[in-house]
């Protein structure tokens, strides 16, 4: 709620200075075509979908062609190092951008040093952990306790990013509650959602990382179906899920989803706070892009969000609008990164 107010306040404050901003916009700092490279190779994934929504809005606002290219993280970072000083090429990615670096994945860049952090645009609140419907573990607590009692629990994840961070948090929670037992929570490193699901079907994993979007239908299968699953934890903040449309996803309403975030499903971070993680989508710019261009794009996005149209489209696609201009997104993400870094290095 606080952030929402902040956003609103920002929109108001910006609209006060709009006359100046309009002068800048009239100059049209970016001409020709804009290319948005994204950190994912999939055109069916959330990064592409999100980028497509923003790209379309930007194209209308700036009066230029904007095209999204699903080049993947490595190629996108390379592209951003080379071009984009003129603002014609920008990158959109999510927290994976710095998580891969924290996890020490080769070829990943320290975005805070090598790139310029642009605004955040939206949250995908769907990052989830699931168990088979017949699983003995009813809650995330039960999983933590099982590890504490010496049971080996296998979690299927994709290593080095958003998929692993929840696993690291769970491991950290086991360590907090039952020091020394964290070895009982084991990662099964795998790839796509299909692979993670398959490991669950095969009985090779007890818990998998998944998402509300991709796994919701599986949670509605009858219990005797080999494919049936059950949510145990959503990593998103309570406040994030609260902003979703009440219909939620598929047949699972927002109220249903609330059962899997704190205070109903809790993974402690330290003695005084819980671990929560919103998968946020961010703009990334070339290191040498001029402050005028940064302000120009901030302005354009501020206007887009002020109109309120984009929020509806995002919410319809189960994204939570979350606009922070560049000035605030940098420090905000830095803080988020530092908090995560602590548990990742604690597990090494």
């Amino acid at each position: 709620m606080k952030r929402l107010l902040l956003c609103l306040g920002l929109i108001v404050s910006v609209s006060v200075v709009t006359p100046v901003a309009d002068g800048v916009a009239a100059e049209k700092l970016i001409t020709g075509n804009m290319r948005v490279v994204i950190g994912s190779k999939s055109t069916g994934g959330d990064t592409y979908q999100n980028s497509a929504i923003v790209a379309q809005a930007l194209a209308e606002e700036l009066g230029i062609d904007v095209k999204v290219d699903a080049v993947g993280a490595t190629a996108a970072f390379k592209t951003m190092e080379r071009s984009g000083q003129d603002g014609n090429t920008i990158m959109i990615f999510h927290d994976q951008a710095y998580l891969a670096y924290l996890y020490g994945i080769k070829g990943s860049a320290d975005i805070f040093k090598e790139l310029k952090i642009g605004p955040t645009i939206a949250i995908n609140p769907g990052n989830a952990y699931l168990v088979p419907k017949k699983s003995p573990y009813q809650t995330i607590d039960a999983i933590i306790d099982a590890c504490g009692k010496g049971t080996k629990v296998r979690v299927a994840i994709q290593p080095g990013g958003v998929s692993e961070i929840g696993y690291t948090a769970m491991k950290n929670a086991v360590k907090l509650k039952y020091p020394g037992s964290e070895e009982n929570l084991v990662a099964i490193n795998t790839g796509s959602q299909a692979d993670k699901n398959q490991l669950l079907f095969d009985g090779q994993a007890d818990v998998i990382n998944g998402s509300v979007q991709a796994n919701e239908q599986y949670t509605r299968l009858p219990e005797d179906d080999q494919k049936a699953m059950r949510f145990v934890w959503l990593t998103a903040r309570k406040g994030t899920i609260e902003q979703a449309n009440p219909e939620g996803m598929g047949q699972t309403t927002r109220d249903d989803l609330m059962k899997f975030v704190e205070p109903n499903a809790v993974v402690p971070y330290d003695a005084s706070s819980n671990f929560v993680f919103d998968k946020e989508f961010i703009f990334l710019y070339n290191k040498n892009m001029s402050p005028e261009l940064v302000a120009y794009l901030d302005n354009a996005l501020t206007k887009i969000y002020a109109k309120g149209e984009i929020q509806k489209i995002q919410k319809k696609s189960f994204f939570i609008p979350d606009f922070l201009p560049s000035t605030e997104s940098g420090p905000y993400l830095m803080k988020k990164m530092e908090r995560i870094e602590k548990i990742i290095s604690g597990m090494k």
Partner: protein
């Protein structure tokens, strides 16, 4: 009837336009069905879901089918899944049977497409439950089975196997990607190469380099003679095509379509494996296996029936598990998400009308593909009469576009094209066999992931034999395939010796 309300003239127009653009993309060396679907995906924002799907399914079917044209006429696979079409299709063109090969290919494509659509319609949920019985172990064995084709495809078994393994090795260069569950480390390169090679070589640039650019280099070496590819333009004065060409091929048609559908429904095994597998089986079951590879219609039938069989097959896991069966359906999933529709195990039940419209679109797309291509053949086939000094520069240019665009704008892929063009040219000189090499390259990555992940999960090699009855059955097939290629090799050596003795 809401279904009828959806079948507007716009719907059919979109299928038609989709098929047309798809064929074009498939037929241009370097452009693929996946690319066609990807570039048209943004167009579907303005359409509703069912219209969007009509367009995209048209593109999918058209794109997969169009690949046979350059494969048969120019010896360049238009899409990765038409690679096995070149094995017999191009020799047929050289023999003056280009038009016949095209017609056989198109009819086989139609059959494969309709066959798989029927399977999809009647058995999708049941087959999805079978598909999830295939874990890493079984998938590895399927890849291994497809790899056994290498032995029977090569002219010298030992060199052929070496080329195949070399292909696997080349495919491993790059990063063990986290997106397949790897640790993100680079391998098989020196440190200074990392900035260039960390993403490895992409399939399409390697393919069109080895087949397209290498051919042009070979021709350049010979001085690019003035006459066109096929001096004999009048394709029709040879034995004309008739349905009699399919005599004795009914089993082949069914077998190949089934293999295509089946491989398509296994997520991650990949589209190209389908045609490779069905080509092997055609060869293994053929009455005269030595003919395959020299211009036998049954090779074209096997390849084309299976790669169109793939279309329906790949839609099975997409619509009944929410998981794409191949790279094109992976893009297709975007159309659903962009429209806010979830695909998953409950999709068909909850979206009956969309499901029925999709089936109509799929069947119509196959029919449109057939009529467009069958009657355009006369004109398409004229490509080979274009003088080389005009044709070759166009091919190089289109290969560049394809290589650059396949990963949405990566310059390194263009250099890959050149690298493998030169490599293909040189390997012809030193005796490395290109067909086994490319098959090894295509299958190498999945072989690694499935092999390593199986061992990570189970920790013992015995699991490959004891995992499940399916695994044991696959071993039987592998054994048959290997025994068979040993048998034919020994036989051919004997006949050679006998001939030399005379």
């Amino acid at each position: 009837m809401d279904l009828l309300a959806d079948l507007t003239p716009l719907f059919f127009t979109l299928v038609f336009v989709g098929v047309l653009i798809g064929i074009l993309f498939g037929a241009i060396p370097g452009m693929t069905a996946t690319m066609a679907v990807a570039v048209c995906l943004p167009l579907t924002y303005s359409l509703n879901l069912r219209e969007g799907l009509a367009l995209l399914l048209g593109l999918y079917v058209g794109g997969i089918s169009g690949g046979l044209v350059p494969a048969i006429l120019l010896n360049i696979p238009g899409t990765p899944s038409s690679i096995t079409t070149t094995f017999d299709g191009y020799p047929m063109t050289v023999n003056g049977d280009g038009e016949k090969a095209l017609k056989i290919g198109i009819i086989s494509s139609l059959f494969g497409g309709l066959f798989s659509a029927a399977i999809l319609f009647f058995f999708a949920p049941a087959l999805a439950d079978i598909a999830i019985k295939f874990s890493y172990v079984e998938k590895f064995l399927i890849i291994f089975l497809a790899l056994t084709v290498i032995a029977s495809l090569s002219s010298n078994v030992l060199v052929g196997i070496f080329s195949g393994v070399l292909g696997v090795w080349i495919s491993l260069i790059g990063t063990y990607d986290v997106s397949v569950g790897g640790n993100g480390d680079t391998r098989l390169m020196f440190d200074f190469m990392v900035p260039y090679l960390e993403e490895g070589f992409s399939l399409l640039p390697v393919l069109i380099g080895l087949f397209g650019l290498a051919t042009i280099l070979q021709e350049a070496e010979k001085g690019v003679k003035d006459e066109p590819l096929c001096a004999d333009v009048s394709l029709s004065n040879r034995a004309k095509f008739s349905m009699r060409d399919f005599k004795g091929q009914i089993i082949n048609l069914f077998r190949s379509s089934s293999i295509g559908t089946f491989v398509g429904m296994l997520p991650g095994v990949g589209g190209s494996a389908a045609s490779v597998l069905s080509y092997t089986q055609a060869k293994n079951f053929s009455k005269d296996p030595s003919k395959l590879g020299t211009g036998a219609p049954e090779g074209v039938i096997a390849s084309e029936a299976s790669n169109n069989g793939l279309t329906g097959g790949a839609l099975i896991p997409l619509l009944s598990l929410g998981i794409p069966g191949d790279s094109t359906t992976a893009v297709l999933i975007g159309a659903f998400t962009l429209q806010g529709i979830q695909v998953g195990p409950l999709f068909i039940g909850e979206n009956m009308e969309t499901w029925h419209t999709m089936m109509v679109a799929l069947v119509v797309a196959n029919l449109v593909m057939f009529f467009v291509m069958f009657f355009a053949i006369k004109y398409i086939a004229k490509v080979i009469t274009v003088p080389k000094y005009i044709l070759y520069p166009i091919i190089v240019m289109m290969c560049v576009v394809g290589a650059y665009a396949i990963n949405y704008g990566i310059m390194f892929d263009v250099w890959t094209l050149l690298l493998f063009g030169v490599f293909g040219y040189l390997s012809g000189k030193i005796g490395i066999e290109v067909a086994p090499l490319i098959i090894g390259f295509i299958l190498g990555n999945s072989a690694e992931v499935y092999f390593v992940k199986s061992l990570e999960s189970f920790g013992t090699l015995t699991i490959f034999f004891t995992k499940s009855p399916i695994a044991m059955f696959l071993w039987v097939l592998i054994a048959v395939s290997i025994t068979y290629s040993i048998y034919t090799t020994v036989k051919s050596i004997r006949t050679k010796r006998a001939n030399a003795g005379h």
